[in-house]
Amino acid sequence: MPQIHIEYFAILREHVGKNAEELNTDATTAGALFDELDGRYNFPRMAGMKVAINAEFSDWDAALADGDSVVFIPPVAGG
């Protein structure tokens, strides 16, 4: 199974209780990976979540490859 590196920030980091993890997964898209992890962690509900793959914003249906780094991005609040 492909191995994916996942980093957590802000509300997700606090909820999951860690900054990052490695996951061997059958999920073939970012959205499927999210659903898998949501099943495990029961993420807090929020609208407007985005996702980045290898430090670039990405679509939820973008394909994942072995070694990819994925970050789920809760609604931002800079400034």
Partner: protein
């Protein structure tokens, strides 16, 4: 030269300003976001900023480049604080210089608007009453399961809300 940066410590405003001065520029517009003592009806004590820095720097640089191209300004820069901030502290600074004032005002406004929407920075507010919360995330959570950090599923986003952002 980097146009967008994060800083864990309070910057020198004079140093920031000097980075956009230019003999050909006649106008300078600066925006500063300050930590204010209230937000959405709550009394704020202090706050924390956290960023996904690798993507944040890339996105910040893109925003600066877009502003420079759209408005033809001479120089433009942005700095966003990370870490713990108190009331009155500088949270974000944008500085733009240009030949004339119209493009400096427009570019400065463009940069701060885009930074707030696009750069992955999160703000956790600590309130006078002892409560705290992640701005924007909290409001969304309230509409869902009612509990900020333990959505009980069903009414929240996961598949549905995530789907909104696909494509």
């Amino acid at each position: 030269m980097s146009g967008f940066e994060f800083s864990q410590t309070a910057p020198s405003l004079e140093t920031l300003r000097l980075r956009v001065t230019d003999r050909t520029a006649g106008a300078y517009v600066a925006f500063e976001g300050w930590v204010r003592d209230h937000n959405e009806g709550q009394q704020v004590l202090r706050l924390e900023y956290e960023a996904y820095e690798e993507l944040g720097l890339r996105e910040g640089e893109r925003i600066i480049a877009e502003a420079a191209e759209r408005y033809g300004v001479t120089r433009a820069r942005c700095l966003h604080r990370l870490g713990e901030l108190e009331i009155g502290d500088l949270a974000v600074w944008v500085g733009v210089s240009s030949a004339h004032r119209d493009e400096a005002f427009k570019a400065c406004r463009y940069i701060i608007d885009e930074v707030k929407h696009r750069v992955p920075i999160w703000k956790k507010e600590h309130y006078v009453d002892g409560d705290s919360g992640w701005v924007n995330c909290e409001r969304c959570a309230e509409k869902g399961s009612g509990s900020l950090l333990s959505g009980s599923g069903g009414s929240g986003f996961s598949r549905d809300s995530a789907a909104k952002n696909r494509g």
